[in-house]
């Protein structure tokens, strides 16, 4: 587990670089945090480090955005905001994205598909905004640490 304090948005650039360098075996990035915490924003910075050429936008309405990097690698950006846990998520096809071994996958609102996240390939990123200072505390966890954390 690692904890970072973010005071300004620009600091996410360094943090994105740090995460990608230090967790090279992680391919599924699960981003937790309330509405407006900055999940899409952080995915923008992670994507930039990965060399995404498309513009990264919220997929809330479109559910899944597909981006390409300049090396033609695939990035899936999933947003499960509009999916309720009661839905049988297997029917939705989310597993097809997550099981793709040749892509990097970002998932917003991953709590809705907890059991689908592969433990050996997932990194969990919690973004906690401080309501008073509007700073962000970012907690990075591996899936086995997550169990102890929650």
């Amino acid at each position: 587990m690692e904890v970072f304090e973010i005071n300004r948005e620009e600091e996410l650039d360094q943090l994105a670089k740090y995460i990608l360098l230090n967790y090279p075996d992680r391919q599924v990035f699960a981003l937790y945090g309330p509405l407006g915490a900055g999940k899409t924003t952080f995915i923008k910075y992670l994507s930039k480090q990965l060399g995404v050429v498309d513009s990264v936008k919220s997929p809330t309405y479109t559910l899944a955005n597909v981006y390409k990097t300049y090396q033609n690698e695939k990035i899936y950006h999933l947003d499960l905001f509009r999916i309720k846990e009661s839905v049988e998520w297997l029917d939705i096809g989310v597993d097809d994205y997550i099981e793709d071994p040749n892509a990097v996958i970002f998932v917003e609102w991953p709590e809705k598909i907890r059991d689908l996240l592969p433990p050996d390939r997932t990194l969990m990123i919690h973004i906690n905004p401080d309501p008073d200072t509007q700073k962000r505390k970012i907690v990075i966890l591996l899936p086995d640490e997550q169990e102890n954390h929650t």
Binding site: Y61, R82, I92
Partner: protein, 336 residues
């Protein structure tokens, strides 16, 4: 020439008929199943499209008295959108084209929204400015000619319609939130809670900062009690609505100034917002703009706009091969 348009890119099953650039009629089968899940669930969406597409077409033909044999071309949405729903409409349309031996034409969903402006009462001379704002997209376009839309800017994060929907969630309103905010805001004072203006250079848009600011504001008021929140809801709805629309106008006005064009159209689901239309009308009355917007039912996703785009393409001799598949990622400039 009569063209049938089929739109299934997201949650609406839409079929429409256009004859020589004029609307005959259209049917949108709303997928009410989604409101109980709080949003669009793609697999359910695909299943619902399968169930609804034939009855929708049947209703349309019965209502207009037009027979399948009279249809001279079939237009389908190729993307962008959810792959399952797109596949349903695409295969249905291609099957129909084979059976009727009529040409098929693939349409970019975004281009469909843009040409929905031709359903407006007023016809604007080219070039003019088009603001497309919906749940999934927000773009400012300089529309030079039928097949020459130039994208000046687009959202860097959330779409304007999504900002409405997320604000509605924060206020505890049902999905989809846009119409609820519109209604509630009529009883509110938009100046009571000033929200920060997004500061984005050029013609791009950004709504994520506004969303976060609104979240803090709502949390702040909730801490004063739920009664207080209930009492303030109309003012909060009015405030967020004004902030969302102001941001759209900032960019429209910047384009009007830069290109010296006072001709402006608004399209997409957000163009159905009554405050947005009222503000546009004020521009017409006070600053001499010429403005246009599609009739309300043709702002949201519908089959008629796909039929219009298909008619424009067929008229210009453009058809698609039968094996051209839908694709979820389809930028406007890569496929018209």
């Amino acid at each position: 020439m009569i063209v049938l348009g089929i739109e299934t890119s997201c949650d609406e099953t839409g079929v429409g008929l256009v004859q020589d650039g004029r609307l005959i009629d259209h049917v949108v089968a709303k997928q009410d199943i989604h409101s109980q899940y709080g949003g669009v669930v793609p697999e359910l969406a695909s299943r619902q499209h399968i169930k609804k597409i034939y009855p929708a077409l049947d209703t349309l033909l019965n209502r207009t008295g037009i027979t399948l044999e009279e249809i001279e071309g079939i237009a389908i949405t190729r993307g962008p959108g959810l792959i399952g729903p797109l596949m349903v409409g695409s295969l249905f349309g291609r099957g129909l084209a084979v059976a009727l031996q009529k040409p098929i034409v693939n349409v970019n969903h975004l281009f469909g929204h843009i040409v929905s402006v031709f359903f407006a009462d007023k016809r604007l001379d080219f070039p003019f400015i088009v603001l497309l704002a919906s749940g999934g997209h927000t773009m400012l376009i300089l529309y030079w000619d039928t097949f020459k839309p130039e994208v000046l800017g687009e959202t860097l994060d959330d779409a304007a319609g999504e900002a409405f929907d997320k604000a509605a969630v924060l206020l505890g309103l049902p999905y989809p939130g846009g119409p609820h905010i519109d209604r509630l805001a009529k009883q509110g004072n938009p100046e009571k809670y000033p929200l920060p203006k997004p500061q984005i250079p050029g013609f791009n848009f950004s709504y994520s900062g506004l969303k976060t600011a609104f979240r803090y504001l709502v949390e702040d008021i909730t801490r004063q009690g739920l009664d207080k929140l209930e009492a303030e809801k109309p003012h909060l709805a009015a405030a967020i609505q004004k902030a969302i629309i102001d941001h759209l106008f900032d960019k429209i006005e910047a384009a009007v100034e830069k290109y010296g064009l006072k001709r402006v159209a608004i399209v997409g689901g957000v163009a159905a917002n009554s405050y947005f239309r009222q503000r546009l009308m004020e521009k017409e009355l006070q600053e001499g703009w010429e403005t246009a917007a599609p009739p309300l039912p043709l702002c949201v996703d519908n089959g008629a706009m796909i039929a219009m785009a298909g008619w424009l393409k067929l008229k210009n001799g453009i058809t698609s091969p039968l094996d051209e598949s839908p694709t979820p990622r389809l930028p406007l400039n890569e496929f018209l």
